[in-house]
C-alpha cells in the first residue's frame, strides 16, 4: 500500500546535479531556457503581477541573521520527482511520469484547473494567464521542435525533452551508445552555464554514481550537515526529486560545525 510505483522502468533515469557552490547567479540558464523552449517574453507587467514564466529561475536566499547575512543563489526548476505531488491530482492525465523518470506535461490534455500548480512544493509550474505573444522581430527565433503553448494551460521545465529525443534518435540511427555528457543531449540551461554549476545525466549511469557519493551519509529530512554536500530540496516531503543540490562550501559554517 505504501510502495512506490513506476520508477526504474527504462534504462535511463534522467537527473541533474546542481552545485550551488559554483552558481554565480548570472541568469544565463534562464535566457537559454527561454529561447530554447519558446517561453513567452516576460515584460515588467508579468513580474509585477507575479505571472512571469521562467522554467528555470534563480532565486535569492538570505542565510544568517544581520550583521553576517549571506546571499545564496538557488536555481529552482522542476525537480522531476519520482513521487511528484503534482501528478496524481491532475484530473485529465495532463501530467504523468514517463518511463525515463521524467515528469512530462501534455499541453493538449491540460484544462487549466491549476491543481498541479498548487500541489508542487517547488512552485516550478507556470500558468499561461495571457495568450503568449512575441514581437515581430522574434517570430523567426521560435524553436520549431517545441510547441507554442496557448493561454489557459500549465507548462514547466521538461529537461528539454526535445533534445533528449533527438539525440537518442540519432544515436539509435547511428547505432552508437548514447553518451551522457554531450551537448546535444543536455538541456539548454546546462549548456549555457558558464561555471558548469548544472550537470545533466543519467541517474542510472555516471551521474548516479556521482550523486550517490555526494548524498552519502546524508541524514535525510533535509539536514545534510554530515557526509557529502548533496541534498534534495524539501526532502521531508518525500517527493524523491531527480535533482540533487550540492550545498555551498562555507568555511565559517564548517568552523561552526567543528565547534558545535
Amino acid at each position: 500500500m505504501l510502495e512506490r510505483q513506476g520508477t526504474d522502468m527504462a534504462d535511463q533515469k534522467w537527473g541533474m546535479v546542481v552545485d550551488i557552490d559554483k552558481c554565480t547567479g548570472c541568469q544565463a540558464c534562464v535566457v537559454a531556457c527561454q529561447s530554447e523552449n519558446n517561453v513567452p517574453i516576460n515584460e515588467e507587467g508579468h513580474f509585477t503581477q507575479r505571472r512571469a514564466i521562467e522554467w528555470i529561475r534563480i532565486e535569492r536566499v538570505w542565510e544568517g541573521e544581520f550583521p553576517d547575512v549571506k546571499a545564496r543563489f538557488l536555481p529552482v526548476f522542476c525537480q522531476h520527482c519520482d513521487e511528484a505531488p503534482c501528478e496524481p491530482v491532475c484530473p485529465v492525465y495532463a501530467t504523468y511520469h514517463n518511463s525515463e523518470g521524467l515528469n512530462v506535461q501534455v499541453y493538449n490534455r491540460c484544462i487549466g484547473t491549476r491543481f498541479c500548480a498548487n500541489n508542487c512544493p517547488y512552485q516550478a509550474r507556470y500558468f499561461n494567464f495571457w495568450e503568449p505573444t512575441w514581437p515581430e522581430s522574434l517570430k523567426n527565433q521560435l524553436n520549431p521542435d517545441v510547441t507554442v503553448r496557448s493561454r489557459g494551460i500549465m507548462e514547466k521545465c521538461t529537461f528539454c525533452i526535445q533534445r533528449i529525443r533527438r539525440s537518442t534518435r540519432d544515436s539509435d540511427r547511428e547505432g552508437t551508445e548514447l553518451e551522457e555528457d554531450n551537448r546535444a543531449l543536455s538541456p539548454a540551461c546546462v549548456n549555457a552555464c558558464p561555471t558548469q554549476a548544472l550537470k545533466f545525466g543519467d541517474l542510472n549511469g555516471h551521474l548516479g554514481e556521482e550523486a550517490a557519493e555526494h548524498l552519502e551519509g546524508h541524514g535525510g529530512h533535509g539536514d545534510s550537515h554530515h557526509g557529502g554536500r548533496g541534498y534534495h530540496m524539501l526532502d521531508s516531503l518525500g517527493t524523491h526529486p531527480n535533482v540533487i543540490y550540492l550545498k555551498k562550501v562555507d568555511p565559517s559554517a564548517e568552523e561552526v560545525e567543528a565547534h558545535g
Binding site: 529530512h221 521531508s236 518525500g238
Partner: protein, 481 residues
C-alpha cells in the same frame, strides 16, 4: 382535530410497545420489589466480577514489581484504561442525548446507562498509574503545551502539565457523572426512603434529601439534569481530547492527525451504545425487567449503533486518505506503525468488527428491529473497539525513545518501527481484571439505585398514550415544552 384522549393505556398489544400495567401504583410496587429483593443471579455476577478484579490486581502487582521505567510493557494497561474510558464513561451519553432530544423510548433505559458513570470511578482509579507511566514533557517531544527548554517564555511551562490537566479533567468527569446519577436518582431514592427498609432505607433517606416532589422540585430537576447532561458531554469530549493528545499522539513522532481526538470520542460513543445494549440484554434476561426493556428500546439504540458504525468508517477514512495520498515519509511511517505494519491483524479485526460487520448485518431493518441483532452486533463492536485501541495504544507505547531527550522526536524512520508487542500473562490478567472491575462497580451501584428509573417510567405513562383512532390504533406522544 384535537380530540380528547383517555389517559388509560390499553392492554396486551404488540410486543414491546408499553408497560403491561394500567396504574402507576402497579409500576412502582413492581419495580421496587424487583429492586429490593436480591437475586442469586446478581450475587453470582458480583462474585465472578470480583474474582476477575482480584486477578487484575494480581496482574497489576506483577507489572509493578518490574517498575514503571520500561513503558513498553505498560501498553496493555494504557489500552485497558482507554477501553474503559471509551465504554463505561461514554455510556451515560445514551441517557443524556435522548433526554435532551426528549425521546420517550429512552426512559426505561436511561438509568441503566447512567449507572455506568459509577464505573467511571473505576476509570479514575485506572488513570492514577498512568501518571507515572507518562514521562514529563522535557524529553523533547512535541506537545500540546509547547514546552521548550530554550525559549524564555515556554520554558516556564511546568513539565508535568499533561498529568495535572488530564487528572483534573477525569476527576471532573467522574464528579459530573456522579452528580448526574444522583440527580436523576433522587425521586426514586425518595421512593426507596418510603417503601424500603434497612440500610437501603437509610442510604436512600440520606441521599434523597428533602425530596417530596413539589412542582418546583420537578422543574428544578429537569432543568438541572439538562444542564449537567450537556456539561457531562463537554467534559467527555475534553477528556478524550486531553488523553489522546497527551497520552497517545505525542508518543508517536510525526503523528499529526488533527482529527484523532474526535475520532477517539466518536468511537467511544459507538462503544457506549454497545455497552448500554449489552447491559440492557442482561437486565432483560437475568434482571427480570423484561416488561420494561422492550423491542422499542433495542430498536432505538440499534439505529444509533448503525449510524455510529458508519461514522467510524468516515472518521477512519478521513485520516487514512490524507495520509495515504500525502505520502510524506513521516506519515508513511505512522501508517506503517499503526495500521499496515506489525499491528495489521489488530487493525483488520477492529475494522471488520466495528465497521464491516455492523454495516452488512444492521443494514437490514428486520435485524435492526430485533432483540438479538443489536445484541450480537454490540458484542462485535466491543471487541472491535478493543482491537482498534490495541493497535493505537500498544503500538504508541512501544515506540522507542519515550522519555529519552536524545532521541529525535519530530520524525520516525521506517526502520525505527518496533516489532509487535504481545501481551504477557500479567497483561492478560490486567485485561480481564479491568473488565471485571467495571462490571463489579456497575453491579454494586445497580443494587443501591433502581436500575430502571421509576419516575421516568411513570412520566412515560403520562405522555405516551395509546388510543383508538377511527378504525386503527395510534400512539399519542406528548411533548411537554
Amino acid at each position: 382535530m384535537a380530540s380528547h384522549v383517555d389517559v388509560k393505556s390499553h392492554q396486551g398489544h404488540g410486543e414491546g410497545q408499553y408497560v403491561p400495567f394500567t396504574t402507576q401504583e402497579e409500576v412502582v410496587s413492581d419495580l421496587i420489589t424487583k429492586h429490593t429483593k436480591v437475586s442469586d443471579k446478581w450475587i453470582s455476577g458480583v462474585v465472578a466480577a470480583g474474582l476477575l478484579l482480584l486477578l487484575g490486581v494480581v496482574g497489576f502487582a506483577m507489572r509493578l514489581a518490574n517498575g514503571m521505567d520500561d513503558r513498553v510493557v505498560w501498553g496493555y494497561y494504557a489500552l485497558m484504561f482507554a477501553f474503559i474510558l471509551s465504554t463505561a464513561s461514554a455510556a451515560p451519553m445514551i441517557a443524556i442525548a435522548p433526554r435532551i432530544a426528549n425521546a420517550h423510548w429512552r426512559r426505561p433505559i436511561s438509568r441503566a446507562a447512567e449507572l455506568w458513570s459509577a464505573a467511571g470511578l473505576f476509570s479514575l482509579l485506572l488513570f492514577i498509574p498512568m501518571l507515572w507511566i507518562l514521562p514529563p514533557l522535557n524529553d523533547g517531544r512535541r506537545s500540546l503545551w509547547f514546552f521548550d527548554p530554550d525559549d524564555p517564555v515556554y520554558s516556564q511551562v511546568p513539565i508535568y502539565t499533561p498529568h495535572i490537566w488530564a487528572a483534573l479533567a477525569i476527576l471532573g468527569l467522574v464528579i459530573v457523572g456522579f452528580v448526574l446519577l444522583w440527580l436523576s436518582a433522587m425521586p426514586d431514592l425518595a421512593l426507596m426512603r418510603e417503601h424500603s427498609t434497612g440500610f437501603r432505607q437509610k442510604f436512600a433517606a440520606k441521599l434523597s434529601g428533602n425530596w417530596v416532589g413539589t412542582t418546583g422540585q420537578w422543574n428544578m430537576l429537569h432543568h438541572r439534569m439538562g444542564i449537567i447532561g450537556a456539561f457531562y458531554f463537554m467534559m467527555l469530549i475534553f477528556v478524550h481530547f486531553l488523553v489522546t493528545m497527551d497520552f497517545l499522539i505525542v508518543l508517536v513522532p510525526g503523528w499529526i492527525d488533527a482529527l484523532f481526538p474526535i475520532t477517539h470520542a466518536a468511537n467511544a460513543l459507538q462503544a457506549g451504545v454497545a455497552t448500554v445494549i449489552l447491559s440492557m440484554i442482561f437486565m432483560r434476561q437475568f434482571g427480570g425487567y423484561k416488561e420494561y426493556i422492550t423491542l422499542e428500546q433495542f430498536w432505538g439504540l440499534s439505529k444509533l449503533l448503525f449510524a455510529l458504525s458508519l461514522l467510524w468508517f468516515w472518521f477512519w477514512f478521513s485520516s487514512f486518505n490524507v495520509f495515504w495520498y500525502g505520502k510524506k515519509p513521516s506519515e508513511q511511517a505512522v501508517l506503517e506503525l499503526l495500521m499496515v505494519g506489525p499491528y495489521l491483524i489488530s487493525f483488520l479485526a477492529g475494522f471488520v468488527l466495528s465497521f464491516l460487520a455492523p454495516l452488512f448485518v444492521m443494514v437490514w431493518n428486520p435485524v435492526r428491529k430485533s432483540i438479538w441483532g443489536p445484541t450480537i452486533m454490540s458484542v462485535a463492536v466491543l471487541f472491535g473497539v478493543f482491537f482498534d485501541k490495541l493497535r493505537y495504544y500498544v503500538a504508541a507505547y512501544s515506540v522507542p525513545g519515550i522519555g529519552d531527550a536524545h532521541v529525535h522526536k519530530h520524525f520516525m524512520d521506517m526502520d525505527a518501527i518496533p516489532k509487535v508487542h504481545m501481551p504477557g500473562l500479567p497483561d492478560i490478567f490486567i485485561i480481564l481484571g479491568v473488565i471485571g472491575g467495571a462490571v463489579f462497580f456497575y453491579l454494586i451501584f445497580a443494587r443501591l439505585i433502581p436500575p430502571v428509573s421509576i419516575w421516568e417510567q411513570k412520566e412515560l405513562m403520562l405522555y405516551k398514550v395509546h388510543k383508538a383512532y377511527h378504525r386503527t390504533e395510534v400512539f399519542v406522544l406528548g411533548k411537554p415544552r
